[in-house]
């Protein structure tokens, strides 16, 4: 195993830990945190591929910078939605948000 494969093992484990959180959590903010873990594992992948496979280009670095930026925007929007939801439902559990169900 070279360095790249070891980093890939770590990022894969991180991604699937995020998926585990996504599947088992019932709270919207906790789900958001799992999504953050998954985005981070993707960032590690981009950076590692850039560094070890294509050291002449910078595409992976830029992809991870843009992913970080978009993650910041996404979290800000998600939190606005969560606060609005809490105002309307008094709860941020996904089980209680069944407004569109029927």
């Amino acid at each position: 195993m070279n360095y790249l494969q070891e980093i890939l093992v770590i990022s894969t484990a991180l991604f699937f830990i995020g998926i585990y959180g996504l599947l088992t959590r019932r709270n919207i903010i906790a789900i958001l945190m799992s999504v953050e873990l998954m985005l981070n594992s993707v960032n590690i992948n981009f950076v590692a591929f850039n560094k070890y496979l294509y050291p002449n280009s910078l595409d992976g670095i830029f992809f991870s910078i843009f992913i970080i930026t978009i993650a910041a925007a996404e979290v800000a929007l998600a939190i606005a939605i969560v606060i609005n939801l809490y105002r309307n439902h008094d709860s941020v559990d996904i089980d209680s948000t069944t407004l569109l169900k029927y």
């Binding site: 906790a30 670095i61 993650a71 979290v75 606005a80």
Partner: protein, 196 residues
């Protein structure tokens, strides 16, 4: 086994342990703190890869921005000491099985693939990143840079529009101080106004 490898394994163990704690912790505030440590560990991994710029961005944006936002929203919507709603054991087992099989499949996929690593060392000069970010030619990223700045602006305006309180209930509570000339027309359930 050299020092670099030991540091790498320590960092990896730290990241995965903190991430596991973050998705299994019962109290949401502690979960956010474990997430904070996991993100710091990832920044350490970037430092280990000698990518100081990405590590700095990671610490500034994720640790300083996103986690703080998450903690804010936890305090706005929860009693931080309350436990989160529990998940059933069967759901946990099903999720664990799915995750473990998926991870095993992915890991064997790239362990059997031999990447031909480049022999050239990576030049992680920040000036190189800065030049490429504002360049219009080949390998330049000026257009995505501008697009993402517009996206950030739109997202911020959108946040304000979504999170702002509807005007009706606000006027009564905070805008007009109760005066004698116009009798107070408060609505009888003032619970919301106290919280925000």
């Amino acid at each position: 086994m050299d020092t670099s490898k030991i540091i790498f394994y320590l960092l990896g163990g730290f990241i995965l342990g903190m991430a596991l704690l973050a998705v299994t912790e019962k109290k949401i505030f502690r979960s956010a703190i474990w997430l904070l440590f996991a993100l710091i560990g990832i920044a350490g991994l970037y430092f280990w890869m000698a990518l100081e710029f990405i590590a700095a961005v990671q610490i500034i944006v994720y640790v300083g921005g996103i986690v703080v936002l998450i903690i804010f929203s936890v305090f706005l919507t929860h009693q931080a000491e309350d436990d989160m709603p529990k998940t059933g054991l069967s759901r946990k087992i099903a999720a664990g099985l799915a995750v473990i099989s998926g991870a095993a499949f992915t890991i064997q996929l790239f362990l059997n693939n031999d990447f031909n690593l480049s022999a050239i060392p990576f030049d992680s000069d920040v000036a190189r990143i800065g030049t490429a970010m504002l360049e219009t030619g080949d390998g330049g990223y000026l257009l995505p840079f501008e697009a993402v700045s517009m996206l950030l602006l739109a997202a911020m305006v959108g946040c304000i529009v979504i999170a702002i309180r509807p005007e009706k209930s606000e006027k009564n509570d905070s805008e007009n101080p109760p005066s004698f000339s116009n009798p107070p027309t408060r609505n009888p359930e003032p619970v919301e106004g106290i919280l925000y």
